[in-house]
């Protein structure tokens, strides 16, 4: 096959607990060649697994019982091989919570695998799934280089006064209790895209990124190209109100739930992680988009929306204070991009921090990167659709170039 050896095809794999998103990206052009998603993996009762596969202009749907992520990957690789001439030069995995073991993108070898294994309890849902897939690829496709890209790596620059909890030093040290921060891949991507769009040097910019997803959400404060604070903490539970997660919460409530209602620790965790947030407040849906649709007539929906927005505003003003006024405010991920009402409510009466939204531009936004701030706003307000896979591919490509020049 004829190919420019400077170009690399990177297969980015992004694991959910029961899904696997994949994208084959040609670097450095950042061209997406193939993308798709395998859903309902390993769940026995809810029907058969489905792979939706996009290549060029074509869509393929494959229904097949798949026991897990490894099997799904084999199926996907089969689909990719059917495409004429599609080859890939590396696997790139997104890995949620590496604890203290990794602070930057890593090439997988035996010792890296050993260290990854130690991180499994840190994110009991996400880590084991990713780990198993990495292990699977390592054994099965040993000739293809593999990389793990970490959601937390971007936040390693958070200073001690923001990452330390006021817990006993000994206990915090022994169990590694500190703010880790998440969504780093998305926050970094937003920062780079924002600076590119505004033609600013990132080292001169103070940026607040609101990653508002239908699943997890977080706000990040960025100064001189480095994350200095993130609303998520030791786990993704802290911070904003999310679809089913409560966000910031008095730890005392956990004890009361357990002692009053006789919940086990697992049950209480399940309530705060899976039954709270928008779902807990609104009960009919965990999707903020349903809340927005109904909040004109439904009081519960109105309260849920107000609480959601208040929490984001708290972090935006807090981060404005620690940055002493932000230069750029970014909205990204599904809710941040698709819901003008969310952006409007967050930016309302924020003049005192320098944030002034242009309401027309805000509601007229349709796609791509756009500036929706009013001309007299001191802070530029941008909407940036997220693309974590591109960011992962960038990271890995950078690493490959480094490795290549070294060998």
């Amino acid at each position: 096959m004829k190919s420019d050896r400077k170009e690399k095809n990177i297969l980015v794999l992004n694991c959910g607990s029961s899904s696997l998103k994949y994208k084959l990206i040609r670097m450095p052009g950042e061209k997406t060649l193939i993308r798709g998603e395998a859903q309902r993996l390993g769940i026995k009762t809810e029907g058969v697994s489905v792979i939706t596969h996009f290549s060029g202009g074509n869509v393929k749907k494959v229904e097949n019982p798949l026991s897990g992520h490894g099997e799904a990957l084999c199926e996907v690789l089969g689909l990719i091989e059917q495409e004429d001439g599609m080859k890939f030069d590396a696997f790139a995995h997104r890995y949620v919570h590496p604890g203290d073991y990794f602070t930057r993108t890593v090439k997988i070898d035996e010792s890296a695998l050993d260290d990854l294994k130690k991180t499994l309890p840190l994110a009991a849902i996400h880590n084991p799934v990713s780990y198993n897939l990495i292990d699977f690829c390592h054994r099965r496709y040993s000739s293809v280089p593999q990389f793990a890209v970490f959601d937390t790596a971007f936040h390693k620059t958070i200073p001690p006064e923001y990452y330390t909890y006021a817990l006993p030093r000994k206990i915090a040290g022994k169990y590694g209790l500190r703010k880790v921060g998440f969504h780093g891949i998305s926050h970094r991507y937003s920062m780079e895209e924002a600076c590119r769009f505004l033609r600013k040097n990132k080292s001169s910019q103070k940026i607040i990124v609101c990653h508002l997803g239908t699943g997890g959400s977080s706000v990040c404060a960025i100064k001189e190209g480095k994350s200095i604070n993130n609303s998520m903490g030791f786990t993704p539970l802290e911070g904003l109100i999310m679809n089913t997660r409560c966000g910031d919460m008095d730890a005392g409530t956990v004890f009361y739930l357990m002692s009053r209602e006789n919940f086990s620790p697992e049950e209480a965790e399940n309530i705060l992680n899976k039954k709270s947030g928008i779902l807990g407040l609104f009960s009919r849906s965990s999707d903020l988009r349903d809340v927005i649709r109904l909040m004109g007539t439904d009081n519960k929906a109105k309260t849920a929306f107000d609480m959601y927005v208040n929490r984001v505003r708290t972090y935006v003003v807090f981060y404005s204070m620690i940055l002493r006024k932000a230069d750029i405010l970014v909205f990204t991920d599904s809710l941040g991009v698709e819901e003008p009402e969310v952006r409007r409510a967050i930016c309302e009466k924020m003049e005192f921090t320098g944030i002034v939204l242009d309401k027309k531009k805000n509601s007229a936004y349709s796609r791509g990167i756009e500036d929706i701030s009013s001309p007299d706003s001191e802070t530029r307000i941008l909407v940036i659709p997220s693309d974590e896979e591109i960011m992962i591919a960038r990271e890995v490509h950078k690493e490959m170039k480094k490795n290549g020049s070294g060998s």
């Binding site: 409560c246 910031d248 919460m249």
Partner: protein
């Protein structure tokens, strides 16, 4: 003569206020809790001693928790006890304890009005979206898991003389530090939530932590919830980070000499900034900041630092010495967009003033 009583677990602190010419004077007295519990006649004896020289006009109590039942000052009578005891389940360590002391006062002070002032009453006016957590509905409303708030007496006093429509952030620096947003005499945010674990760290409690940490310690490392509770409420905060078992004013003196103490203040200020941010976000702006609390007189450096950090909002610190008007200190200069005051009144003094207002109100027959 008015007695203002603070019921601790170890002793009962009493401030005795006497009206002088135009102003009043106050002295302190204390009752040992063990004596009080052992000897049933102890309280009556002490009250009699106090009454020897001057008539007691009223006895006022600062009560930490009033739940949903108490939204203002109240005369203590039989109905009061019935409602107050219903709060036992919310605060088992405190409610029966105070209830017993109040009962003994009631038995020893026949004919003297006893008045209860609550630290949480002010926050019963919090809007719903600020009152509740993003938990399943049934636990918030039915089980009463909500922000009860704290330091309501201070926050109310701090903001009651401001012009209507003023967006004020009230910061109390005391054993606990709390931040409250007030506009038009109503609270719009409060840093202390369901328990004092949430909000800003204190000398021994942690302030905001990721609730995920609680689950991690329980599920992965086998801690019991009682042990974690103990860690969070009495081994964390400044003590946990620095190893120094000291209160805020002493710690402030050691700033700049020890990296652990500096880190602890870094965390403390970050938490304070978060809640100041929350308050400003809730009000959609900021016209004035009022500080108060028993440690505030010793925390001038902290006040200056907070003002410096917020200078981008248009705060200009006045040159020292700051002008005092009675017990109100002006900390911002004339051209400052945001006004900053320090209220040096002590809590008992505020309660005393409220007591006088309460007694003057026509509804109380004496």
């Amino acid at each position: 003569m008015v007695l203002v009583v603070d019921c601790g677990l170890e002793n009962i602190k009493i401030r005795i206020f006497r009206k002088g010419s135009g102003y009043f004077s106050a002295v302190s007295s204390e009752m040992n809790m063990h004596e009080c519990l052992r000897d049933k006649g102890f309280m009556a004896k002490r009250i009699k001693e106090l009454e020897e020289n001057e008539r007691i006009d009223a006895v006022s109590f600062r009560i930490l928790f009033g739940g949903d039942y108490f939204s203002g000052a109240e005369l203590i009578d039989d109905g009061f006890f019935r409602r107050f005891r219903k709060l036992t389940g919310f605060f088992p360590l405190y409610v029966p304890h105070v209830s017993e002391i109040l009962k003994r006062f009631a038995d020893s002070c026949e004919g003297i009005p006893l008045i209860a002032f609550f630290e949480t009453a002010f926050f019963n006016q919090l809007p719903d979206e600020r009152k509740y957590y993003a938990l399943p509905f049934e636990y918030c409303r039915n089980a009463g898991i909500r922000r009860w708030g704290f330091h309501g007496i201070f926050h109310k006093a701090n903001t009651e003389n401001l012009p209507a429509g003023e967006k004020a952030v009230s910061i109390v620096i005391d054993k606990q530090t709390t931040v409250c947003a007030v506009s038009g005499g109503r609270p719009f945010s409060i840093s202390l939530g369901y328990t004092p674990l949430e909000g800003i760290m204190s000398s021994r409690s942690c302030g905001d932590v990721d609730p995920g940490i609680v689950f991690y310690l329980m599920n992965v490392h086998g801690f019991s919830m009682h042990r974690i509770d103990e860690i969070l409420k009495s081994e964390s905060g400044f003590l946990g980070v620095t190893g120094c078992n000291m209160e805020l004013p002493e710690l402030l003196k050691l700033r700049g000499r020890d990296s652990k103490i500096d880190l602890a203040f870094g965390i403390y200020l970050a938490q304070l900034m978060k809640y100041t941010g929350e308050a400003a976000a809730a009000l959609g702006g900021l016209d004035s900041i009022v500080f108060a609390g028993s440690y505030v007189a010793d925390a001038g450096s902290l006040v200056r630092e907070i003002m410096k950090r917020l200078s981008f909002l248009g705060i200009h610190t006045a040159t020292l010495p700051w002008k005092e008007n009675g017990k109100l200190v002006k900390a911002a200069s004339e051209e400052s967009k945001v006004k900053v005051y320090i209220n040096l009144k002590e809590l008992a003094e505020i309660v005393y003033c409220y007591t006088c207002d309460f007694l003057a109100a026509p509804c109380i027959s004496r």
